[in-house]
Structure formats: C-alpha cells, structure tokens
Amino acid sequence: MASLINCPYCGARTTDEFYIKGDATKARPTAIGDDTIDQWHDYVHIRENVRGRIAEYWHHTGGCRQWLVVQRDSVTHEVYGVTAARNWKPGSSPARKTASRKPPVRKAGGKR
C-alpha cells in the first residue's frame, strides 16, 4: 500500500490516518420487505473480493473525517485514485474508470 493517500480535502496524508470500511461497489437496496431478502443478503454479505482493481470506502478518521472512495489494486497495492464518496455511484464497476482519472478537487473550506 502506498504510504500516502491523496485525500481530496486534505492533500497527501499517511495511510494510518484512515479507517478502511471495505467494498464500495454494492448499491444499497432501496426496498424493504420479504421479497427483498436476496437483495439485502447480497448487499450485506456477498463480496466480489476481486483479485486486481477494487474500489473501497475509506474514512479519514485522523483528518477531515470525510468518507472517500479509494481505487487500488488488491494484489500490487497500487493506488489509482481517490474520490469523495459523495461523488461516487456504488454499483458502477471500478474497472470502467480509467487509471488516469483525476479525483475531483474540492476547495478547502467547503462543506465539512
């Protein structure tokens, strides 16, 4: 893993400032009811656990406390990009984003 993560709010910060929640590719089901159990089971328990490029929720607990989405490789630990979670659409495949995609930059002093 890279030692530094480029937080869109704080800039380059060390990885141990962050808590890693995990998989950011699953969209939370919108409906509730007996006929949605399979959807919820899939959302809560089932993981693609991709060997290669993944997208994860990271929480900058030791900094701005914003939720981020970090795209990285689960084999090489290379980090491809960091996005603010609010700009992230779960359900979109991380493979579709290109490696050169820059994370959107938010101005310091923005909504926190």
Binding site: T15, D16, G22, H41, H45, R47, R51, H77
Partner: protein
Amino acid sequence: MKYSLLSLVRNASSGHQNWQPAWRSPDPKPHYDVIIIGGGGHGLSTAYYLAKVHGITNVAVLEKGYLGSGNIGRNTTIIRSNYLLPGNNPFYEKSLQLWEGLEQDFNFNAMVSQRGVINLYHSDGQRDAFIRRGNAMRMHGVDAEILDQHTLREMLPFLNFDNGRFPIMGGLMQRRGGTVRHDAVAWGYARGADSRGVDIIQHCEVTGIRRDAKGLVTGVDTTKGFIGCNKLGLAAAGNSTTVAKMAGLKLPIDSHVLQAFVSEGLKPWIDNVVTFGVGHFYISQSDKGGLVFGGDIDGYNSYAQRGNLPMVEHVIECGLAMIPSLSRARVLRAWGGIMDMSMDGSPIIDKTPIDNLYLNAGWCYGGFKATPASGWCFAHTIAKDAPHELNSQMRLDRFRTGYVMDETGHGAQANLH
C-alpha cells in the same frame, strides 16, 4: 516406510543416504473420485481422512505452489479450543483431541506441545466476559480455568502487571492448548495421505471448473491439463472466492492479509502461549528460541502475501505494552498470509448449491488450530454427501437465513473479526 527408532538406527548406520521422499510426485491421472483444490493443511488433512476414515483413496490434491507455501506455513502455530458458541466449540474441541493423538496417528513428529494458552484480562468487565467464556467451555467438557493476578505473577513475572492504562488483572487459561510445528503438519498429512494412495500434485494451478448441462462439476482445467472428477472440494483459503467464481459461486468472504513475526533466538523465557486482552497480541517461544508473535489483520482487502508498516508498528507497540523487556529483542523475520475472512468470523464447511461441489472456507485467521477437525469434517461431508454434526452449523446459507455464528458480535464487517 514407518518412521521409528529402528528406521532411524538403520538409516544412521548407512550415513542417512537412503531416506526416501515422504511422498511421491505423480502426474495427474485423467479422472479421480474426489479432487481437492488446495494443498494446504485443510486440503491435505481432508485427503488423509477421506483415505483413512472413509476408504476413498482415488483422490487428488491440487496445489498451485509447493506444500507448505500457504497459510499452513505462515501462522503462529497456536492450537486451542477456547470458543464460546455452541456451533463452534465442539468442533474446535474435536480438533484439539485430534491434535493430541495426531503424531501417533500419522507417524510424524509434529512437535505438538500442550504448553497452555493464557488470555489476559485487564478490567472487571473483561474478566466477567472471560469467566463466561470459560464456563461455556466447561459446559462443553473443555478445560478452562481463571488465573488470578497473584498466580500469574509467579508464572509470568515479565508481564507489565502495573500498566497504568491496561493493568493485567488475571487470565483465562486452557492448559491443553499450545503450539505445533506447522510445516510438519502439512508434511505429516501429505505423507499419510500419499501412503494410502492419494495423489498430491504440486505446481498445478486450477484455471477453470467444468460443469455439464445439469450444472454438475465434471472436472477442472489446470496448468497440467484437464482432470475429471466425481466430486470436487474447495479448500483454497485466501483464494476461495477466486476458485468458487470458476463455478459461478459467490461467497460471503473478503481476503485480508495477516502478518506474523519471529525474533532472534533467545534462551527459554516464555513457557506458554500468552495473549494480550487489549490489542489482540499473541506470543509464544519456539523450540529454537525465537519469539513467534502476531496481532490483527492489516484491515484492507489484499491478495499480496506481505503486510505494511503501520500494522508492524501497532503489533510491536502492543507487545511492548504487555512485555516491556521485548524491546531488547530484535525481529528476525516478518511475513504475511492471505486470510479468507467470512462475514461472521466463523468458517464454512458445507455442501453448495451445486450437488457435487463442496466448500471449506472462511477460516479468518483461526484456520491452523482447526486443521485436523476441518479435514475430518470436510472428508465426512464429501464422503457421506452430508455434513457431520460437528460442522452442521457451519453452513453456507446461514448468512441469508440469519443463523450466523458471530463470536465477537461485530456484524458483517470482515476486517473486524
């Protein structure tokens, strides 16, 4: 050849030039009754018990690397059965009982050492939780005792009892717990299985699982060609989801890296396995004198068999908080293994929605101690086409139905188990 004092004398008299390999290296046959994917501890013990207990010897174990290259050679060698939940405890106790007779059973010196496992507690609340756990163990017929601080001071005088933040008040001890030489477990099971006719095929990576029109598994594509089978068992540890995907199966598992460490060799110092109740730190001393220790998983998905420095620092900080004199020891080696972290922290040994495909996965970082019972139960599940009572709650569908076995109560967050 059976290893014995006689065989040792005979080979010594011929200058140790005539020892034979402990297992063959056969080419794969076109078809087997059972194929096990994964030549780690669990895969090898499964093959061993399939042959020994169930008489199924037309078996192949496929290993993509060499025997002992995965988690069986990357753990901190601890065995114990101090589990709380009814679905877990009898299984781990079976495992401990199998450890106790293992060396005689498979005629190999695995250096099983029942030196006792002590979990330290630091508060009244933690003491109560440990007493509850100890009582649950005793209700299952497992040995457990609470040691007070006075007893611990005599046994383990080097602990930091008066740590201002985390004073050590006592511990929960299982005397029958201990350590085992982990490589020898792989070798002993491999030799035992091989001598009963099982083919152990190393450097043979599975690249695909073939299924017929009804969905049943017909065999596997490998780097050594197609191999057919009647039944297929998955015991691929950190790569479980990757292999299961080849059969169209998605699992409630994330792969995480766990690091372990060993120090330079020291004179006999730490007699037991001791765990710190605060930071999840555990330590024992090997017969060579090295301190073997570890802590938590790094906390992020990984397939790389190496960890990162923040967790190295965290583990060593925990160690120093527990045993300040550790600061004088030097770390010799560190390594990482890939854990199949399930969503409730408990394993899966079960049939799957595919009738002749069987799954053994989700061991989190507790797989080593389970090696004998895991193989024993998985062999039963494959041979009888039904789970044994001991693994009857280790179901694949428990996540959907809500019957999870969450020892720590952390919920579906793999990196917290």
